[in-house]
Amino acid sequence: MIFQIKHTKQNLFGRNFFKIFIIFLIILVFVLIFNIFGPARSLASEIFSPFFKTGNFFYERMSQIPKIFADKNKLIEENKKLLAEVENSRLDIIDYESIKYENQKLRRELEIRPEGNFIAASIIAKSPQIPPDSLFLDKGFKDGLNNGDLVLAGERILIGKIAKMSKNRAMVALNSFANAVSYGYVARTNEPLEINGGGGGRLETKVAIDFDIIAGDKIMVADSFTYLAAIVGVVEEDQSSGFKNIFMSLPVDVSKISIVFIEPLTSE
């Protein structure tokens, strides 16, 4: 019996290369066409919203798991502590009401813009669900938001800017977003400095070694109003280079907030 050995030609692209390539091109064209249209982004945001909310709920529940395994005596102690805190809070509320009244009165006298001009938005998702130093909000251009609008955690606490938007949803880039740059000044000395986002909730800058700055200094940003943008955490002196490395953090813990306020750019 004679066997003949046949060599199969190994084509680099294979037999079905063109078929595969056409499918590949069709998908690519489809993606590019939909990328141009704005409504596609709105649609995607709408579709993903329930999943983002599910994830947010999941992470909130996850943070409560350690409490399930807490010791009973510890819980009794915690309960006592909480009762005391409730009493303190009750007294604080009474104080707050009187301060609020005084604040409103002063606002009227000084003609300071009322609080009502801010747009309140709920946070649907935050890191680790979405990329670090970003927030996913439940308001979009339909609600009057614009790219670049300032995002505040309190009335004068600036945490970031609107970076990406669809009809009903918006993505916020926090001041600590990698490579984000903002310009502010030290509240204590009024000396200007550049604030660079370092990623992971970190803000940093480099200043001359004789620059007057200490840990705990507040960094303000002046826009239509003055906002608190960062708090100095660590100051490292580098004698060899003649610079100080300043490490800052956002004024609030973003993981603990669920509502933000957006100040439209057009407002004065």
Partner: protein
């Protein structure tokens, strides 16, 4: 059937749990299925909601990753013995 389910999972799981899950899931998809073009669509959809920064690469980070992965798989298609699990 499993391929479709995995495609849905690759879109939904990163949204619910964490964005970076897309990367290992896409790599695993290439291992499980032969030339999974679906990852381009998944990358495209996720790129529309996530924000990685400005600039072309940052705006299309996941889709670029998917495209590179598929192009690599396309060239290796005839060179390696492909496990077609799903």
């Amino acid at each position: 059937m499993y391929r479709t389910l995995y495609f849905l999972a690759i879109i939904i799981f990163p949204v619910i749990f964490s964005w970076w899950l897309f990367i290992p899931m896409a790599l695993f998809f290439v291992y499980l299925a032969k030339l999974p073009y679906e990852i381009i669509l998944a990358g495209f959809l996720l790129d529309m909601v996530y924000y990685f920064g400005d600039g072309f690469l940052a705006r299309h980070l996941l889709i670029v990753f998917s495209l590179l992965l598929i192009i690599l798989a396309l060239f290796l298609n005839s060179r390696i013995h492909w496990r077609k699990v799903i």
